[in-house]
Subunit: 279 residues, 2 copies
């Protein structure tokens, strides 16, 4: 944490002062962070919502988003809009861009792909723990050093990103306050995360955490696996662990994140009331 080197590219524009208020801060800041843990440079897209004057000194939650290149803009647009209308608080989005997606976003090494075949593209799989170290030891401190962050952290991912989020929740339940797993690829690694959930969920302390998970109309075992997982969560959850499972029968694997990320934000902040600003 103390030793990593940071570069950042701040996208600026001489014309930005002429933008009307709401979109001043749809700032596609692209930060380049050298990770010692991963021994590579990592790009992170960072979005900071435009703040009302009443909120200007407020510390903000951070949503750590996997597959940043895919979902960053939708999440940023939702948060910008919903916080502007005081439906949720302003939240910083840190969208992590993939380098070796199969490595970072899988919980165990397995060469078996979705079709049940040995796949050499999967040879680097199993890097979740190292990737969590990067987030915990390097990215979180970076966000805290460079932005006015509150302690509240959200972890969000889709597909392989979804199993990564659940794996993190089970192995490191204190790392985040809320977890969003959209269409988690529970089939991966002979249902590794599903088996881990069977083993870990009864004992893991998730008091006051929030957890949203969902799937669409997908091939293979996505839905059956998530229904099995849902039974485990429902059986093992304490009353203080809030969770919501949503199924989107009219969405496929790639369109489902659009409604699901919206519903996830609404779920996490359903009891939130804006106390700092007037409507």
């Amino acid at each position: 944490m103390k030793h990593f080197i940071v570069f950042f590219i701040f996208l600026t524009s001489q014309a930005s002062a002429q933008l009307p208020k709401l979109y001043n801060h749809i700032s596609n800041d692209v930060h380049l962070i050298h990770s010692q843990v991963l021994n590579q440079d990592r790009q992170v897209y960072i979005h900071v919502p435009q703040l009302d004057s009443a909120d200007i000194n407020k510390a903000l939650p951070v949503l750590y988003l996997l597959d940043g290149e895919n979902h960053f803009h939708i999440l940023s647009a939702y948060i910008e809009y919903l916080s502007h209308w005081h439906v949720i608080p302003p939240i910083i989005v840190a969208g992590i861009i993939n380098v070796d997606r199969v490595k970072d976003l899988t919980p165990t090494n397995s060469l078996i792909n979705f079709d049940g075949k040995v796949d050499s593209n999967y040879k680097t799989s199993g890097g979740n723990e190292q990737f969590f170290d990067f987030i915990h030891q390097e990215l979180m401190p970076y966000m805290e050093a460079n932005y006015k962050t509150s302690p509240v952290k959200i972890f969000a991912g889709h597909s392989f990103g979804g199993i990564t989020v659940i794996n993190c929740m089970l192995m490191h339940p204190d790392m985040f306050d809320a977890y969003i797993a959209i269409s988690p690829s529970l089939w991966f690694g002979n249902k590794y995360v599903l088996r881990l959930a069977e083993q870990k969920l009864p004992g893991v302390s998730l008091t006051d955490k929030k957890f949203f998970y969902s799937n669409g109309n997908e091939d293979g075992s996505f839905r059956d696996d998530l229904l099995r997982f849902d039974k485990l969560v429902t059986r093992d959850s304490l009353k203080t662990f809030e969770h919501e499972y949503k199924y989107y029968p009219s969405e496929d694997h790639m369109t489902e994140p659009i409604p699901a990320y919206y519903d996830a934000l609404r779920f996490i902040y359903k009891n939130w009331a804006d106390t700092s600003t007037k409507k």
Copy 2:
């Protein structure tokens, strides 16, 4: 059209070459167009999706969006994402920024507000026709001159923007190919647009047009008015006029545009198949 003066501000960044592919063109281009029709400068946010190499010379539809300052980013993010995954084609978004919203986005002069009271803020109301002239005579030619546009045009608005869209569809059915009216304020002007629909819908030619309209869980007569309107559309529509009405009971007036704009895009392109690029 020939005489209007155009300024434009192109937001550039020296770092943009380092952005990964998908978001190269989340370009918040802010154009300033001097309108002779309106005798004022108008800001328009323009988003051009990132194109696959197979699409690079393709002419693109244009979605003309009202209340650009509010909904531009969500629409742009949806289009960027859905076109990247070949669910809809790439579409240019032109988000018109308000100057006098009550003037431009109302079909008739009426001083009576939502609560039934005389409201001096409404004294400029009734500027729809002049605003349509601006779009038709100035903005559309501007888009055609500056971008590679196809003839397909979509008109989208929310609330006052919703009645503006319906008024345009009834009075100028050929101006657009698809109309999106989210929570139209049909109450306005003693239900002016509802009465206009009763009068015009039986005779208006909407062959091959597409029309999406919706509302949320709102106060006042929003839902009753839209149900009345839906009856008119259903009764009068020709088989070749495709329309969809959606109701969002768990959304309020300001959150409803998030799911509704997504569903509207999916509706308009539900039979679209990507013929130009491989998945």
